[in-house]
Subunit: 101 residues, 5 copies
Amino acid sequence: MKFAYVIGNCVATRKDEKVSGRKLLVIQPVNIKFKASGDPLVAIDAVGAGEGELVLYTSGSSARQTELTEGTPCDCVLMAIVDTVELHGNYIFDKTKESGQ
Amino acid sequence: MKFAYVIGNCVATRKDEKVSGRKLLVIQPVNIKFKASGDPLVAIDAVGAGEGELVLYTSGSSARQTELTEGTPCDCVLMAIVDTVELHGNYIFDKTKESGQ
Amino acid sequence: MKFAYVIGNCVATRKDEKVSGRKLLVIQPVNIKFKASGDPLVAIDAVGAGEGELVLYTSGSSARQTELTEGTPCDCVLMAIVDTVELHGNYIFDKTKESGQ
Amino acid sequence: MKFAYVIGNCVATRKDEKVSGRKLLVIQPVNIKFKASGDPLVAIDAVGAGEGELVLYTSGSSARQTELTEGTPCDCVLMAIVDTVELHGNYIFDKTKESGQ
Amino acid sequence: MKFAYVIGNCVATRKDEKVSGRKLLVIQPVNIKFKASGDPLVAIDAVGAGEGELVLYTSGSSARQTELTEGTPCDCVLMAIVDTVELHGNYIFDKTKESGQ
């Protein structure tokens, strides 16, 4: 899984019927400093994430292993909302302190 | 899923029989500014997209989860035509206003 | 799928028995200008491509969806020989005129 | 599989129910010199690795082939703790001598 | 598939039980000039390759299609030992002449 921020959403009325009704969130993958790294992705949200939240996303066939994405043409799913990240014994992200981004 | 523009098409009379009859669209993945990023891809179109449209594409095994691509040697499918993209509360793409590209 | 030129072949007498007898072609992925982009790949050929031809290849699990590659440890298959590529209304590749490369 | 160091952990109380109870480790992929290469990943740990250890991780659908990750939206699993690495006849990593990182 | 040299091996006594007993080889992917390209990988060997040999490796789910790797958390398998590589009509690698690397 990789870290990303939810930065927005995307509306597409014409889409494959299997993803009908799924909300499409735009996410920005981030590096170890929580800065943007690489191009934005569009993900289906399995955990009710909101804009600005740090999340984990899963790519590829594993993205189809949630109830919401099973059997759909989805290769990117949000599967966790990050509370804290601890590296080398230091908390570098704490959601309650609204650090990051 | 990732953002791309449909920039053309590709004809191949000799192709694996499982993709026989499928239209092959050439798409250009784009970055957060909707500018070209990386090499072009060739996708099977599951939503009836036209040239110039901003679309979402799915890669890998998930690309085989549409009716048109099931069981075929296809690793890239167009599965949504983008109407709007909203980032940090601002509409940065609106199809009806023909913005982008 | 991605564009590549067939640039040669590779012989390997000792290989996994499931790919026994399969011809291994060396291909060079290309960018939008049909110039080399990235490292060469070795693909199993499902369409009878010859050296110098512009082809489409499929990666990952989808590469196992041809009759020749089903159930084999193959992650790259040639599944189409390109006749023409049209971008923004202009033919940028036409096999009969031997353009490209 | 690729080499990485375990550099920390990540807590996410809201996550897909299928990964409920799984510990999420933050890992840093490394190059041939065992220096950081690329962005950090978050992995499920199938072998009981601890911070600072050199491990091997598996990506993609293969990451779901452990008892702990089967059927879950997990695309990255720790599946081995490295004892030694020998290149061209020289030991370049030996866990008992705490080399590396 | 991609080209790589076998450059060493890796010992891991603590590893997922499904890969128990499998030898782990360290391989270095190479470019068209057979020079190192990208970070080293660790692969399970399905063909009995030795250090210094030029091999082909398969990634992703296709890496699980050998007898040795079926159902295991393995995303990289050696599936062929290269004898010769011919590009544009010239042999650029011939194992019997110990060219390369």
